[in-house]
C-alpha cells in the first residue's frame, strides 16, 4: 500500500489496512485492558481471601451487618443496566440512531441509581460507626479483641466497593461521551466499535460487582442469624 497520506475516517485510521482489522484491534485492546483490570481487582480478592480465612467468625458477623436486601436490589439494577447496554450495542448494529441514544441514556440512568444506592449504604456505615480508623468504630456482637479484625473487614469493604464505584463513575463518563457522539450520528451499522468496546467495559464492571456482592454480603450470613 502506497504512502499517499490516505484520508482518515473514524472507521479506518491511517495505521490500519481495513476496517475489519481496526475493529479487531480495538476489541482485542479492550479485552487485554480487562485482563489488567482482573489483575487489579485480583490483588483485592487475594487480600480478602487471606483475611476471611484468618478471621472467619468476625467476617461473618461483619458480613451480616450489611443490608442484603438493598444489595440484592442494587445487583438487579446493575444487571438491568447491562441489558440496556447490550440493547444499545444491538441498536447500533442495526443503525437505529434514536434507539442507541435511548438505550445509552437508560444505561446511564441505572448506573446512576446504583451509585446513589451505594452512596446511601456508605452513609449508613458512617451512622453505624463502621468506619475503619475512627476511634468510635464499634461492631455489635464482636468481642473487644475482634474489633480490629472487624475494621479489616470494613477496610476491605470500602476499598472494594470504592474502587468498583470509581470504575462505575468512569463508565458513566464514557456513556456521556457516547451519548454526545451518538446524537451527532457518529455510529452506524458499519461503524459502532466504541459502543461495542464500551459495552465490554460496562459488563466487566458489572461482573466485578457480581463477585463482590456474595463475597461481602452473603457468605456465612446464616451462621449469624
Amino acid at each position: 500500500m502506497a504512502d499517499h497520506a490516505p484520508t482518515e475516517t473514524f472507521a479506518l485510521r491511517v495505521q490500519f489496512d481495513t476496517e475489519a482489522q481496526q475493529k479487531d484491534a480495538s476489541t482485542l485492546g479492550m479485552w487485554i485492558f480487562l485482563v489488567t483490570e482482573i489483575m487489579f481487582f485480583g490483588g483485592l480478592f487475594a487480600v480478602y481471601t487471606v483475611y476471611r480465612s484468618w478471621y472467619p467468625n468476625v467476617f461473618a458477623i461483619a458480613s451480616s451487618s450489611l443490608n442484603e436486601i438493598i444489595g440484592a436490589l442494587n445487583t438487579g439494577v446493575l444487571l438491568l443496566s447491562s441489558f440496556t447496554m447490550v440493547m444499545a450495542v444491538r441498536a447500533s448494529q442495526l443503525g437505529q440512531q434514536k434507539m442507541i441514544v435511548i438505550f445509552l441514556i437508560l444505561t446511564l440512568l441505572f448506573g446512576g441509581i446504583f451509585l446513589g444506592v451505594k452512596a446511601y449504604e456508605w452513609n449508613q456505615k458512617f451512622e453505624e460507626h463502621h468506619i475503619p480508623g475512627q476511634a468510635a468504630f464499634h461492631l455489635d456482637g464482636v468481642l473487644p479483641e475482634g474489633q480490629g479484625h472487624a475494621q479489616l473487614f470494613f477496610s476491605i469493604y470500602f476499598a472494594m466497593t470504592g474502587l468498583h464505584a470509581l470504575h462505575m463513575v468512569i463508565g458513566v463518563g464514557i456513556l456521556l461521551t457516547l451519548i454526545v457522539q451518538a446524537r451527532k450520528g457518529r455510529f452506524s451499522a458499519s461503524y459502532y466499535t466504541p459502543v461495542d468496546v464500551a459495552g465490554l467495559y460496562w459488563h466487566f464492571v458489572d461482573i466485578i460487582w457480581i463477585f463482590l456482592f456474595p463475597l461481602l454480603y452473603l457468605i456465612d450470613r446464616h451462621l449469624v442469624k
Binding site: 500500500m1 504512502d3 482489522q21 487485554i32 485482563v35 483490570e37 490483588g43 487480600v47 477496610s155 476499598a159
Partner: protein
C-alpha cells in the same frame, strides 16, 4: 547535488515542524524520541543520587550527609532508576520506534494511546520529582509497611502516586505492543519470522499487562491506609505487613524481567548482525523469552526468605527460582553458539552486546547463590545483593540499552556516531562497571549491610575502589551523551543499511518516512537470513 537531494527526502523528522508537531504527535518514532529525552533526564537525576551515595561511602564515618538524608538518597536513586528509567528504557524508546517497523506496520495499533503513555510517564515523573524537591522520601523504593503507611514522614504519597501514574504508562505501552504484534504484521510476517527483538517485547508486554495492575492496587491500598486509615496492612488490627510484601514483589520481581528481556532482544539482533549469521536456535530463544515471563511470576517469594514466610513456602520459591536459570542459560548458550564460526566484527553495538553477555552471566549466576535459602540468610540485605541486581539491571539492562541505541542510532537520526569514541565508551563503561560493583560482592560476602551510611573501617578499601569505579562509569555514560548530540550535526550521513543487516528496519530509508515504508513490505524470508543475503552479495559481486 545528489546528496543534497537525498538530504531533502521527506522523513519523519522534517515532515512537520514546531513544538506542536512534537508534543501532539501520533508518530511512534517521534514519541520514541520524546521518551528518549525524558528518560535520559531521569537517568541523570538518578545518577546524581548515586554519585552522592558513592561519595558518602568514601569514608567509614558518615560525614557528608546525615543518615536521614542518606535514606532519602538511596530511596530516590532506586525510584528514579527503576520506575522512570529502566522500566520505560528499551520498550518505550527502541521498542516504540522499531517494533512497528520491524513487523512492517505503519504505526502502533493505538497511536493516541501511545502519546498518552508518554504524558503519563512525564506526569508521574513530575510527581516523584516534586516529592524529591519538597523534602524527599526515605522508605526505600520498596515502600514496606507499616513504616511507609504509619511512621515515615517523607513524601510517600506524592512518590507513590508518581509511580502509580507511570505504571499506567507501562500498562498501556504493553497493551499497545501486544495488539500491534497480533494485528498489524505485514503480509508474510508470520510469528516465526518475527525478529527476536519483537518476541522479547511480546514477553515483556505480557509482564507489563499482568504484573503492573497488581502494583497499582497495592499502591492504592497503601494510599488508603496512609490517608484514610484503612487497616489492611496494619498489624495492630490483625493486618499483615508481609501481605504487602507479597503483593509488592508479585509485580516487582517480574519487573526485573521487564528491564532485562528487551535487552536480551537487542542482544539477539546485534549478535546475529555482527556475526553475519542466523541466530542459533531461533525458536528456543523466542520461547525462552516467553518462559522467562511466565516463570518470573512464580518466584516473588525469594524476596521474603527472611520476612517470616513459612519455611515450606521458602523452599518452594527457592526451587522455582532456579527454573528461571534454564531459559536464561538457553539464551546465553544460543548467543555463544551464534558467534561460533561467525564472521565477527567488533563494532560498538557488538562490544556492548558482548559486555551484556558477560555481565548478565555474572548477575545470573550470583542470582542462583541468593536463590539458595542458606546462602540468602547470610547475604540478605548486604552489598552482595546490591552487586547482584546491579549486574542484572546495569550490567544487563543498560548495556543492552546502549547496544541498541548505538545499533539503531543511524536509523533513528540518519547520522553515524563517531565509531572510535563509541568503542572507547563501551570499554570505559565495562571497566568502570566492574570496578564499581565487583568489590560490592566481596563487601556483601564479608557482611557489609546495605542502606547504611556508616561502615566499619576495614571495609574502606573496597568502598574506595567502588567509588573510583563509579567515577569511571560516570565518564563512560557522559561520553555517548556528548558524541550522540555531536553526531546529530557533524556525524556522517547514515546509509540505509550501515551494518549490512537483515530486518525490515534496514530496508527503509534512514531516517524512515512518516509511515515507515513507501510501500507495505511483503516478507518472504525468515529473520536473520544471512545465508541468502550473502549469496546475493556473491552473485552481485
Amino acid at each position: 547535488m545528489i546528496t543534497a537531494a537525498a538530504q531533502e527526502r521527506e522523513n519523519y523528522l522534517n515532515a512537520s515542524h514546531g513544538l506542536k508537531s512534537w508534543f501532539l504527535t501520533k508518530d511512534h518514532k517521534r514519541i520514541g524520541l520524546l521518551y528518549l529525552a525524558t528518560i535520559t533526564l531521569f537517568f541523570f537525576i538518578g545518577g546524581a543520587f548515586a554519585t552522592l551515595i558513592r561519595v558518602e561511602l568514601l569514608t567509614p564515618q558518615g560525614n557528608l550527609v546525615s543518615s536521614e538524608t542518606y535514606n532519602k538518597l538511596f530511596t530516590m536513586h532506586g525510584v528514579m532508576m527503576i520506575f522512570f528509567f529502566l522500566i520505560p528504557s528499551i520498550p518505550a524508546v527502541l521498542g516504540n520506534f522499531f517494533l512497528p517497523i520491524m513487523i512492517g506496520a505503519r504505526d502502533l495499533a493505538f497511536p493516541k494511546l501511545n502519546l498518552l503513555s508518554w504524558y503519563l510517564l512525564v506526569v508521574g515523573g513530575m510527581f516523584s520529582l516534586y516529592a524529591m524537591l519538597a523534602g524527599g522520601v526515605d522508605t526505600g523504593w520498596t515502600f514496606y509497611t507499616p513504616y511507609s503507611t504509619t511512621y515515615s514522614n517523607g513524601y510517600v504519597i506524592a512518590t507513590a502516586l508518581g509511580i502509580f501514574i507511570a505504571g499506567f504508562s507501562s500498562i498501556l505501552t504493553g497493551l499497545n505492543f501486544i495488539v500491534t504484534i497480533h494485528r498489524m504484521r505485514a503480509p508474510g510476517m508470520t510469528w516465526f519470522r518475527m525478529p527476536l527483538f519483537v518476541w522479547a517485547h511480546y514477553a515483556t508486554s505480557l509482564i507489563q499487562v499482568l504484573g503492573t495492575p497488581v502494583l497499582a492496587v497495592t499502591i492504592v491500598l497503601l494510599f488508603l491506609e496512609r490517608v484514610f486509615h484503612l487497616g489492611i496492612f496494619d498489624p495492630a488490627r490483625g493486618g499483615d505487613p508481609v501481605l504487602f510484601q507479597h503483593l509488592f514483589w508479585f509485580y516487582s520481581h517480574p519487573a526485573v524481567y521487564i528491564m532485562v528481556l528487551p535487552a536480551m532482544g537487542v542482544v539477539s539482533e546485534v549478535i546475529s548482525t555482527f556475526s553475519r549469521k542466523a541466530i542459533f536456535g531461533y525458536g528456543f530463544v523466542a520461547f525462552s523469552s516467553v518462559s522467562i515471563a511466565v516463570l518470573g511470576f512464580l518466584v516473588w517469594g525469594h524476596h521474603l526468605f527472611v520476612s517470616g514466610q513459612s519455611l515450606f513456602a521458602g523452599m518452594v520459591f527457592s526451587f522455582l527460582s532456579y527454573f528461571v536459570a534454564i531459559p536464561s542459560a538457553i539464551k546465553v548458550f544460543n548467543w555463544t553458539a551464534t558467534l561460533y564460526k561467525g564472521s565477527i566484527s567488533f563494532q560498538t553495538p557488538m562490544l556492548y552486546a558482548l559486555g551484556f553477555i558477560g555481565l548478565f552471566t555474572m548477575g545470573g549466576l550470583t542470582g542462583l547463590f541468593v536463590a539458595a535459602l542458606g546462602i540468602d540468610m547470610h547475604v540478605t540485605d548486604t552489598y552482595f545483593v546490591v552487586a547482584h541486581f546491579h549486574y542484572i539491571m546495569v550490567g544487563g539492562a543498560i548495556m543492552g540499552y546502549m547496544s541498541g541505541l548505538h545499533y539503531w542510532w543511524p536509523k533513528m537520526t540518519g547520522r553515524m556516531y563517531p565509531e572510535a569514541w563509541a568503542r572507547l565508551s563501551a570499554l570505559v563503561i565495562f571497566l568502570g562497571f566492574n570496578l564499581t560493583f565487583f568489590p560490592q560482592f566481596i563487601l556483601g560476602y564479608l557482611g557489609m549491610p546495605r542502606r547504611y551510611h556508616l561502615y566499619p573501617p576495614e571495609f574502606q578499601v573496597l568502598n574506595v575502589l567502588s567509588t573510583a569505579g563509579a567515577s569511571v562509569l560516570a565518564v563512560g555514560y557522559l561520553m555517548p551523551m556528548i558524541y550522540f548530540i555531536w553526531s546529530l550535526r557533524y556525524g556522517k550521513v547514515a546509509p540505509v543499511n550501515p551494518w549490512g543487516a537483515t530486518g525490515l528496519e534496514w530496508k527503509t530509508s534512514s531516517p524512515p518516512p512518516v509511515h515507515n515504508f513507501d510501500e507495505t513490505p511483503v516478507v518472504t524470508h525468515d529473520a536473520y537470513d544471512y545465508a541468502s543475503l550473502m549469496a546475493e552479495e556473491v552473485e552481485v559481486g
